[in-house]
């Protein structure tokens, strides 16, 4: 394959050029209620070429090998057009030349398991909620995505890395009268099929919860002290803060960039946040990013102070900061952009009961249900929550969305628990999606959060 890729680039003249070829094999099985609605295993493939010449940078994605010549020419022309219209040349930070082949370590390779067995397992999990009369429907899908990537650049790197992501995710909907409630389910990871076996309890617990939610009260909107669980803490780390540690986001927002100067105190001194995709056995694991740079752990916040940033070669050069290996693409349809790998709030010393006692009155909110940032403001949903009175967990509440200001909220984190947990399924949409986007944290207390009910 590398010879083929060399050939595609052979005629192109540029200061720098790279090419990535990927084969993506996707297995999808879906249930909607009792009905099997999807079952397929398909391969598709394509190429992405990036060109840097005289400071101008451009990319092209194509799927037909016979179009390679035209595609490469268009990227070279676009780089020249960029160069003629730029105010400042694009530079790439120096990166080591790498020749390597990486196969994932897995407990059980999903590719070796029959479709029949996958369907059976999914059906078994799907039936757990469906036997309950108040469960109106489910929407549960098995997904296995195998990316076989070949990366080559004009500086001599040749990397072949395989990524296999396996997961079951979906939603259970329960209803009574005109009220419906739903809850998300999700299990999986990057370390094989083993992660999704023996997970009946996950579906049993979620089923019980969605039924309980039918008789829960909607949360009363207002400002509350909240304990948020690891799932929500992870989404907070990712959505509210993490995107601003992606250098390509702040690079062109001058005011935000200034505010995010390394060394600035951003949060309470007990707060530590890291991005560490190198941790083995978790969803976000990878060795090299999609421009051939080895990923490394990056301490983003240390004792409340902004300590690091996630980079591509382009942004590392622009900021004059070290490479981090965070330039990642969804697949062969996209040029890579700066992405978080595995971002989490690092655990502190407090046990859960201590957090409850410490907070006194407020809400205990659990499980992320989507989140979004718009600049310094963020909003995300919690699947469910409980009232907390004098350190005791009380009634179940539903329909919870929380909102806040990044800077204020980082300061308002007043306690950090000791029970780190990372997410098993991901999905971050920053123009393209990243199903391995992993996040997590321990239980934490945020002193003032706006909670919007209905």
């Amino acid at each position: 394959m590398f010879d083929k890729l060399e050939k595609i680039l052979a005629g192109a003249k540029a200061d720098y050029i790279d090419i990535r070829y990927e084969e993506v094999r996707e297995t999808a099985i879906g249930y909607s209620g009792k009905e099997l609605t999807a079952l397929s295993a398909n391969s598709s493939d394509g190429f992405v070429v990036r060109v840097l010449d005289k400071g101008g940078m451009a990319s092209v994605a194509f799927t037909r090998p016979e179009e390679a010549g035209a595609a490469v020419r268009s990227a070279v022309e676009n780089a020249a057009l960029f160069s003629r219209n730029m105010e400042k040349p694009v530079r790439l930070a120096e990166a080591p030349v790498i020749r390597d082949t990486i196969a994932p370590k897995m407990a059980e390779d999903p590719r070796g398991i029959t479709m029949e067995e996958k369907v059976e397992l999914l059906k078994k999990y799907n039936n757990i909620p469906l036997v309950q009369p108040k469960v109106v429907t489910t929407s549960i899908a098995y997904s296995e995505v195998y990316r076989k990537k070949y990366y080559l650049n004009s500086q001599g790197s040749r990397i072949q890395e395989d990524l296999i992501t396996t997961g079951i995710r979906g939603m259970i909907t329960a209803g009574e009268g005109s009220l419906t409630q739903n809850i998300r389910v999700g299990i999986g990871g990057s370390d094989g099929f083993g992660a999704i076996r023996g997970q009946e309890r996950h579906f049993e617990e979620k089923t019980k919860l969605v039924l309980d939610l039918l008789s829960a009260e909607p949360v009363k909107s207002g400002t509350y002290s909240c304990i948020i669980n690891p799932s929500l803490a992870g989404v907070f780390a990712h959505e509210a803060f993490g995107h601003f540690s992606e250098a390509d986001i702040v690079e062109t927002l001058p005011a935000m960039r200034k505010r995010m100067t390394l060394g600035t105190k951003l949060g309470n001194g007990i707060l530590n946040i890291i991005d560490d995709a190198t941790r083995p056995g978790q969803l976000g694991f990878y060795k090299y990013d999609d421009e051939g740079v080895a990923v490394r752990p990056v301490q983003l916040i240390k004792d409340g102070v902004l300590a690091g940033r996630l980079h591509s070669r382009r942004t590392a050069a622009e900021f004059g900061e070290p490479l981090s290996g965070h330039c990642v693409a969804e697949d062969y349809r996209y040029a890579p952009i700066v992405r978080m790998g595995t971002i989490y709030i690092q655990p502190g010393g407090k046990g859960f009961d201590e957090l409850l006692q410490g907070m006194g009155d407020g809400l205990y909110l659990l499980d992320a249900k989507g989140g979004q940032t718009s600049g310094e403001n963020f909003t995300f949903g919690a699947n469910y929550g409980y009232q907390v009175r004098q350190g005791k967990i009380g009634r179940l509440v539903r329909d919870i969305n929380i909102s806040g200001n990044l800077y204020q909220t980082l300061m308002d984190i007043s306690a950090v628990g000791n029970d780190l947990k990372l997410s098993q399924v991901g999905g971050c949409g920053k123009g393209q999606s990243n199903i391995r986007s992993c996040n997590g944290g321990p239980h934490i207390i945020i002193d003032k959060l706006i909670v919007g009910g209905i």
Partner: protein, 437 residues
Amino acid sequence: MEKLLEMARKAAGQAEVFSAEQTSSSVSFQDAKLYDLKTNFLSGVSLRIIKDGKLGFAYTRNLTDRQGLLDNALHSLRGEVEADYDLPDSRGSQDLITYDPGTAKLTNKELVGEAKRVCEILKTRAAGEIMAGAYASVDSLRILNSRGVDLSQRNSQAGSYSSIIFPGSGSGISRQTQGLEMEKMPEALISEMADLFKQGQKTVQPKGGRMKVLFMPDSMITLLWRISSGLNGRSVYEKVSPNSARLGQRIFSPKLTIFDDPLNDAYPGARAWDDEGMPCQKLPLVERGVLKAFFYDLKYAKKLGTVSTGHGYRGDIWGGDPVTVKPGPFLGHLFIEPGPASLAKLISLMDRGIIMEGAMGAHSGNIPNGDYSIGISPGLYVENGQIVGQVKGAMAAGNIYETLANVVEVGDTLYPSFEGARVPPLLCEGVSVTTKA
């Protein structure tokens, strides 16, 4: 493709071959400087077969191995995914203008030129961080099926978009244009952005409570997703739509008329047939507040004992790649009928309220049920018909069946919104807003 169809027909009985090819280019300017230049050449072929009421599905980027693709589809039959519907045999097709040859000739230099032009104008009008971009795309679709359908269509689309970001906040006022050919950002739209931006310079901290909210094109997604979900044949079948028994009943304010019109080729993306080869139609969904129809693809129409309304598309509210996604019910050409009020008039009608330029978290919550709970970012606070400043960290929450029953007035201008929707600004009252004050 014909050969593949013939092979598939012999092996399965019913077969459909769908192909899509797209060439697109885009440029983006960030902080008013050229940042990115991209081109895509994407194509692929997708095969759907129905054998003994079961569905098979397979796709590929390069049709080099027909037998391999067919075997893959036949293999997926073993899962016994039910397909008790028949592929259509429609031959008729409306004559729509969906392609402008000028777009294929549009150079990236011209795209750079348009984005740069908008940046230069905005730089002189607003002290914000300016983002802009332009794009052009040309695609062709073809559907062949075993009942004789052979339809193809060529489409073009080009446009321009820009945002003025409030420095330090990362959120801003955005507008876009779309056409069959390059639709330059008109002066009126640029002024509208710049004016709203200027009036949002000051930060204010109003008290929360029930108030008027003016949904603008970028925050309309909150309402549109829930409208689409509540009118989707699939939601009806799955019993998650609250509208199942409300046909002919008033569900929204009489000021609201909502329809889907794929045949309107004044806008890019018009379609004469859907991705299953069913003829498209203008479908009234809500007329003066009264629920008129649900929309269906072949599958859910059959399940509910009705006929497809021509809304089987290979994509959903999350987007999706037409080659790799199976058809499902989708509203791709949603219109809300414009009303009588200019933007200035709408603002003057607000005694107290928020102009919602952006919504966060629109994709979470109980969407089929119509519930929403969103962060407003950015939001401009209005008192006595005057914008007094920007409100930060506010949330709005409610249920669209309550919010859209309380429409004060509908704007007179259609804006492009998400996934082909064209909507006017909507002023609603009594929306619950929470603020930090």
